[in-house]
């Protein structure tokens, strides 16, 4: 065999993008005998970089360079190939370099398609493909802050570019000729929902209209985009993102067949009509199509590496490009959009589609399944793409549940349940089996390790959540602890720290971190530990060292607002309030010039107080019989009530009285996250108890208790825990439920996700609380009794303690000078904050 020395074969790769780079790497890895001598000829001035992450170069200045190949590979950058002589087997470059080859691989990618509209060559018109494109774009925008801009093309890339323009301070429009955005991936419903999200980001969208011309301004640069309907958009910068064209010019010139609409024709082994020449990546026309996603491009590179090894006798050479999944997910946008499988499969016979639209949350979901509703064919997710990795992995196989259950039941199968053959990472074509094997064989314990070992998750990143689930499942199976470290200062989870603090009777952060952690903490562990100390009844949250742990809200016993002022929320238990107290609130608000609003929690919020005003405001409120509403704390917020049997003709129990009793019982109870509750007087449920951490609905015979509901970001209906309870049993169950949650939940975990993660779920919870399976009920009851007995109003205590009051000054050296940056204007007869400078993200230091 021709091993080493003069006998080595010569490989020339034209184009150093992700495909060319992967080919070289795959070959280097497996060509242990060094059978191939590799030369790369690249047009761009730098070696290959991660084009998929291009935008982060603009937004974060990220370094995109892919790993260098090592000295045995010759890479010529900034020197495009201009001619191929297939008879002599040589490639000539622009600088006149001539390189001979035994095998030639074209990996020339594609170029942005710029439709032939008048004005497309004007200064200020860009494409979005290379680092150089982006650098030029950035420079142009920097010189025109606040200018209008237009992105032509509303596909994946156009939207990414528009968002990036926005980041450059450009007020951007997206113009799409199709009737809706992302027409290649989304159906009309999905496109419409996406548009709402895009517009909510402050981007403007025009669909269903072509661009007629770009018009110059007085300076000769582009100034306007004229649309097909005659209207015009102001634009000092224009980016074309209207599709790609394969770069097949070299192949054309040397007589290799190319497709009608471009692309170097290759067979499934990526070979052109000339057996010595391959084409891979976005320049290749394979199986009649050109792929514009990195995943298929890399698979082609792997397939060719295999052929080349076979030629050198190093492999069977059977690898073929098998076609590829074109699932996509919009990245970097702050908008969840994804399509997977064939999202348009429902246009065919023998399929069913299930759609779900929630205009309130802006969610649109479509699943297309075979007509027996078993096999997933494709679908679209807009507004919430959390299920994307799982669903994408299930395409072509049986759904874990009915389509409805899959949509509403959340995330689908756990990492452990995915079949080995499932492709987890599309970009790098990595299966569940490969990942599992590498975790086991290499002893990997984190996602970073899996990434560098298998490449899964190393490109677009959309599969990372799934990789993480696989990893966790493997680690659990291997009996290895899954990393639940709170932050860099503690290796423990919140629940573990809670037990340490409880069992070892630790009362200060300093003791805890010196014995069980490292460093001096941060804004994650300090408030978490503060909450643990408070839950275990360690006195006032501003006592001694505890004060230094609190987030600003707890530190000032008020909620920080966007302009540095605070809001004041007195407790109004159950939402019941006397006219006298209403008048006091009104007077206080008037005298201190505060903005007032009725909250969603059945009470009144007073906004716009400066720190030095807080004690004066609270003095008036406390004197009138109010106490802290803990709107600032991870603690009980409100127990909402409906009017109940006292007034309502349908009411079967006194919901107001119970709500007040519960609110007074649990007020001030510090927890991993805030706690909300409600009591409804009958099954009509006017208090919305089923969306609360604990909710109670009256029955003829007593009370039904619901637990672990949530409104907010991920609404969850509460589960019925027990029925027809008498009031004392009800209260006991709630006591235990809350204390068990406080002991075992993670930091910032509401009861809803806590219960979802609890092994055994609601049944287990019943066993713990009703049957005392863990034998801890007496302890939980006692802990709650201690809380109830030791409660005292945080604001009253603060007003009585000169030491605590010292913090409520504007400036330590000018305590009476109001912060001059706090300025208001008037709107609808009330104050409204004005930020004089607003957020600024450039370097501010000297």
């Amino acid at each position: 065999m021709n091993v080493g020395g003069e006998a080595r074969k010569r490989l020339v790769v034209v184009g150093h993008g992700p495909a060319g780079h992967r080919l070289v790497e795959a070959l280097r890895e497996r060509d242990v005998t060094g059978a191939w001598r590799i030369t790369v000829v690249g047009e761009e001035p730098r070696p290959a970089y991660d084009r998929v992450a291009l935008t982060s170069h603009l937004t974060e200045g990220a370094d995109l360079a892919l790993p260098a190949h090592g000295p045995e590979v010759t890479v010529h950058t900034g020197d495009p190939a201009v001619e191929i002589d297939r008879t002599a087997r040589t490639v000539t470059t622009a600088s006149g370099r001539r390189v001979g080859y035994d095998a030639l691989v074209l990996a020339t990618g594609s170029s942005p398609f710029v439709p032939p509209v008048p004005g497309r060559d004007l200064p200020g018109v860009f494409v979005y493909r290379t680092i150089d494109d982006l650098d030029a774009l950035r420079e142009h925008c920097a010189a025109r802050p606040g200018a209008g801009g237009v992105v032509i093309g509303g596909g994946l890339l156009g939207l990414e570019a528009a968002r990036a323009l926005q980041g450059l301070g450009v007020d951007a429009h997206v113009v799409e000729v199709a009737p809706w955005l992302m027409p290649r991936q989304l159906d009309e419903g999905g496109g419409a929902m996406l548009r709402r999200h895009i517009e909510a980001l402050g981007l403007r969208v025009r669909t269903g209209t072509p661009v007629a011309a770009l018009e110059a301004g007085e300076d000769g640069a582009v100034a306007r985009v004229r649309l097909g309907d005659g209207s015009a958009l102001e634009a000092r910068v224009v980016v074309f993102s209207a599709g790609i064209r394969p770069r097949d010019e070299l192949a054309r010139r040397c007589g290799l067949p190319v497709g009608e609409r471009g692309g170097v024709v290759v067979d499934a082994a990526c070979r052109t009509a000339d057996p010595a020449v391959f084409a891979i990546g976005e320049c290749a026309l394979i199986g009649g199509r050109v792929y514009g996603l990195v995943g298929p491009c890399l698979s082609m590179a792997e397939a060719v590496a295999d052929q080349l090894l076979a030629e050198a006798g190093g492999s069977s050479g059977n690898a073929r490009f098998e076609g590829a999944d074109t699932s996509t997910k919009l990245k970097l946008m702050g908008v969840d959009v994804a399509s997977f499988g064939d999202p348009f499969a429902d246009r065919e016979e023998g399929t069913l589609s299930v759609t779900y639209t929630d205009p309130v949350d802006g969610v649109y979901t479509k699943l297309v399944v075979s007509d027996d509703a078993r096999t997933l064919l494709g679908g679209v997710l807009v507004g919430d793409a959390s299920a994307y990795p799982t669903l994408r992995a299930c395409v072509g196989s049986a759904l874990p549940d009915s389509p409805g259950q899959t949509l509403f039941g959340g995330v689908g199968p756990a990492g452990g349940d995915l079949p080995d053959a499932t492709v987890i990472c599309n970009c790098n074509n990595v299966t569940a089996e490969t990942i599992r094997r590498s975790i086991r064989d290499e002893g990997l314990t984190d996602v970073g390790g899996v990434k560098s070992c298998t490449r899964a998750g190393a490109s677009c990143g959309s599969c990372v959540p799934l990789v993480k689930r696989l990893l966790d499942a493997e680690l659990v199976a291997a009996g290895i602890e899954v990393d639940k470290a709170l932050c860099e200062h503690f290796d423990h989870s919140r629940a573990e720290l809670f037990d340490i603090v409880r069992v070892r009777r630790i009362t200060t952060f300093t003791q805890l971190i010196s014995e069980h952690g490292r460093g001096r903490g941060c804004d994650i562990c300090k408030p978490a530990v503060a909450s643990i100390l408070a839950s275990l009844g360690n006195g006032h949250i501003l006592d001694g060292e505890q004060a230094a742990l609190q987030d600003t809200n707890d530190h000032f016993l008020a909620n920080l607002q966007k302009n540095g002022t605070y809001s004041v929320v007195p407790r109004i238990p159950g939402g019941e309030i006397t006219p006298e107290k209403l008048i006091v609130i009104g007077e206080v608000a008037r005298d201190f010039g505060l903005y007032t609003k009725i909250t969603g929690g059945q009470r009144i919020d007073l906004f716009g107080a400066r720190v030095e005003q807080l004690p004066q405001i609270w003095k008036r409120l406390v004197d009138a019989g109010f106490e802290s509403g803990h709107a600032y704390g991870k603690a009980l917020r409100t127990v909402k009530s409906c009017v109940g049997s006292t007034w309502c003709r349908y009411g079967v129990q006194d919901s107001v009285a119970l709500a007040i009793r519960l609110e007074l019982r649990y007020r001030g109870l510090r927890a991993p996250h805030k706690l909300k509750a409600a009591v409804s007087g009958c099954a009509r449920e006017c208090a919305e108890a089923q969306s609360k951490d604990f909710g109670i609905i009256a029955t003829e015979k007593g009370w039904n208790l619901y637990v672990a509901g949530n409104g907010g970001m991920r609404p969850r209906h509460a589960d019925l825990f027990a029925s027809d309870l008498d009031e004392e049993t009800l209260v006991r169950y709630i006591d235990r439920f809350l204390m068990f949650y406080i002991r075992t939940a993670d930091r910032l975990q509401r009861t809803a996700s806590w219960l979802e993660g609890l092994d055994g779920g609601i049944d287990y919870l019943r066993e713990v609380i009703i049957e005392d399976r863990l034998g801890i009920c007496a302890e939980l009851d006692a802990a709650m009794e201690r809380h109830v007995a030791s409660y005292s109003d945080e604001w009253r205590d603060t007003l009585e303690d000169p030491d605590k009051l010292r913090r409520f000054v504007s400036f330590v050296n000018a305590p009476d000078v109001p912060d001059p940056s706090i300025v208001f204007e008037t709107e609808r007869d009330q104050i409204k904050p004005v930020l004089r400078t607003g957020p600024q993200r450039e370097v501010l230091s000297r």
């Binding site: 903490g521 941060c522 804004d523 060292e545 230094a548 530190h555 540095g564 913090r807 912060d819 940056s821």
Partner: protein, 126 residues
């Protein structure tokens, strides 16, 4: 003086021959691991006392929110770096240099600060 200028002292400390030290408060007025705001020639300065007793002074202006709130952040460490986290959106800054550890493009102006033999705290304006 606009709010903008308040955060950006135009001359670097030490460039002029006369540094002016301003008495701000007693050292014991500062709680360990907490900050206070001070007004120094119309400039808002956030002053911190760390766990080990060190003093730091940074601009009180939080560039991520546009509000003057840095003094109300939580102190801590990241690796060996003493830090403060903005109370608004929680970006973390190096107390020694003002560098934002979560966004390399941003840094807060820093000020010279000292503890006098009389146990007063003084901050320099340039």
């Amino acid at each position: 003086m606009t709010a903008d200028v308040q955060t950006r002292p135009s001359t670097a400390v030490g460039q002029r021959s006369t540094i002016r030290w301003h008495d701000v408060c007693a050292y014991s007025d500062l709680l360990p691991e907490r900050g206070v705001a001070a007004l120094i020639e119309d400039v808002q300065v956030a002053i911190f006392r760390t766990f080990d007793g060190e003093l730091y002074a940074l601009s009180n202006f939080d560039p991520f929110s546009g509000a003057y709130v840095i003094s109300r952040g939580i102190l801590g460490t990241r690796g060996d770096v003493p830090t403060v986290a903005s109370p608004m959106y929680k970006q973390v800054f190096d107390l020694r240099t003002g560098r934002c550890l979560d966004d390399p493009r941003v840094a807060l102006p820093t000020f010279r600060i000292r503890r006098t033999p009389q146990d007063r705290v003084e901050v320099a304006s340039a």
